[in-house]
């Protein structure tokens, strides 16, 4: 029976959402981890001069987001590890592009569920009477960062599924590859929040983020099929 991309995608996304909702720990634990991290950063950094507060807020928030997202991403294939579902699915006549897009969608949904509280809580605990740190542009930058990181996350999760010491190997591969995203997100946000306008420098950093997204989503689509191909 010939499988269609859209049908496989819909089925796998539906199945993924059901699996996540059945085990809410997988959704809640990265958020709790992130909130704990923000607290730890606050304790370690302590009181800072108002001039440094913006930089600290952005560094804390985006670092915490990166750590928490890494946890979510690395576990995206966990439900498929049970009962060798992943190996069986590789042999089924499902569209591998649809499979990647389904996992990518799941990771985006998990990412949004994780990032939202982090951005809100980060701005909440770092605000001052004279400065509100919440900005929709920063939310947009975070969303752009998520788009590329999600593709990278799915690829790395599929690659390391059968590896030993996966828990340490995944972050060791993920963080260096994600460095441009961290730099671009923090720099673009800092420049925008500092000046209140979208300067050419902000645009340049956003361009880099967009480039990263395009490259990694394209690579994800191309390489995932090679990774799971049975032949």
């Amino acid at each position: 029976m010939r499988s269609s991309l859209w049908r496989d995608y819909r089925t796998l996304v539906g199945q993924g959402v059901k699996a996540e909702l059945a085990d809410l720990e997988r959704l809640v634990s990265p958020v709790l981890f992130a909130l704990t991290m923000l607290l730890m950063f606050a304790f370690a950094i302590g009181d800072v001069e108002p001039s440094l507060r913006l930089r600290i807020y952005l560094a804390e928030t985006f670092l915490t987001a990166l750590f928490a997202l890494q946890i979510s991403f690395s576990r995206v294939f966990e439900p498929d590890r049970q009962d060798r579902v992943f190996d069986l699915m590789r042999t089924y006549p499902i569209d591998h592009t649809g499979w990647f897009l389904a996992k990518y969608t799941m990771v985006l949904l998990l990412g949004v569920a994780t990032l939202g509280p982090i951005l809100f809580f980060g701005a909440f605990v770092n605000q001052t009477p004279s400065q509100s740190l919440f900005s929709w542009l920063v939310v947009g930058i975070a969303a752009m960062a998520l788009a590329g990181l999600a593709a990278l996350g799915v690829l790395l999760a599929a690659m390391t599924l059968k590896a030993n010491a996966r828990q340490i190997l995944y972050p060791l591969l993920y963080f260096p590859l994600a460095t441009p995203v961290l730099l671009a997100a923090v720099q673009a946000s800092q420049l925008y929040l500092g000046s209140g306008q979208i300067s050419p420098d902000v645009r340049a950093w956003l361009g880099l983020l967009l480039g990263f997204d395009v490259i990694y989503i394209t690579l994800g689509l191309l390489l995932f099929t090679e990774l799971v191909d049975e032949s």
Partner: protein, 230 residues
């Protein structure tokens, strides 16, 4: 205990090593003294070729990884693994020589200069590749996973470089490849270009020799397994 083929390879390696040695001689006795940095600038003739070799290795890694994906062969993986090892060697050499050069030039052993930072990240990526290789059981799964990572590393290097360069820089602006021609003394430039060529040649030989060892190790494992069960 070497075969005639091994001896030919070793002879080639010795020849390339001699070329490197001749280049180092030229770096000290042919290239003139730099008017700003004095004699210490001669570290450049080791540092820059190492850096270029390290980054060229990432391109070679991508090529071997792509071949590995297409052919699904262990020999492509052996070449890729050897490339990652040699790449790591040259990134570490770049970082060490950059640090040593930085001390008398910038007054500090380390600074978050764009190129050094990118090299540091590249060293982490090569290390990650080697960790993935050793963490996975041998077989087509490992060939595929390592091949994908090799391609990802190569794709990320220019993005990392661009982002870190925009982030901060203390390094000289690129003086070799620049519109209007290089700003270097021709003797210094040619010594540098020869250095890059000789080191890349030697690195290619190292990759070839090391990948031969990796394949030999696989053959050895197969032979001892066969003997055990015969």
């Amino acid at each position: 205990m070497f075969t005639p083929e091994d001896r030919r390879e070793l002879f080639l390696g010795a020849l390339f090593l001699m070329l490197v040695a001749c280049h180092w001689f030229a770096a000290f006795f042919y290239a003139p003294v730099d008017e700003h940095q004095g004699e210490v600038y001669r570290i450049m003739f080791l540092h820059v070729p190492s850096a270029i070799t390290a980054f060229a290795s990432s391109a070679a890694l991508a090529v071997f990884s792509t071949l590995g994906l297409k052919q699904r062969s262990e020999s492509s993986l052996a070449l890729a693994k050897a490339t990652a090892e040699v790449g790591l060697l040259f990134t570490l050499l770049t970082l060490a020589t950059g640090s040593i050069w930085g001390r008398p030039t910038w007054g500090t052993w380390w600074t978050w200069d764009a190129r050094l930072t990118t090299t540091f990240l590249l060293a982490l990526l090569y290390s990650g590749y080697l960790l993935l290789y050793s963490a996975m059981p041998a077989g087509p799964g490992r060939v595929r996973a390592c091949a994908v990572l090799g391609i990802l590393i190569f794709a990320d290097v220019p993005i990392i470089y661009k982002s870190v360069t925009w982030w901060r820089t203390l390094h000289q602006p690129p003086s070799m490849l620049r519109a209007g021609g290089p700003t270097m003394d021709p003797e210094i430039l040619w010594t540098l270009v020869v250095g890059i060529a000789t080191l890349c040649l030697y690195a290619s030989w190292l990759i070839r020799f090391r990948s031969g060892n990796i394949r030999l190790a696989d053959n050895l494992e197969a032979a001892s397994f066969e003997q055990l069960h015969s």
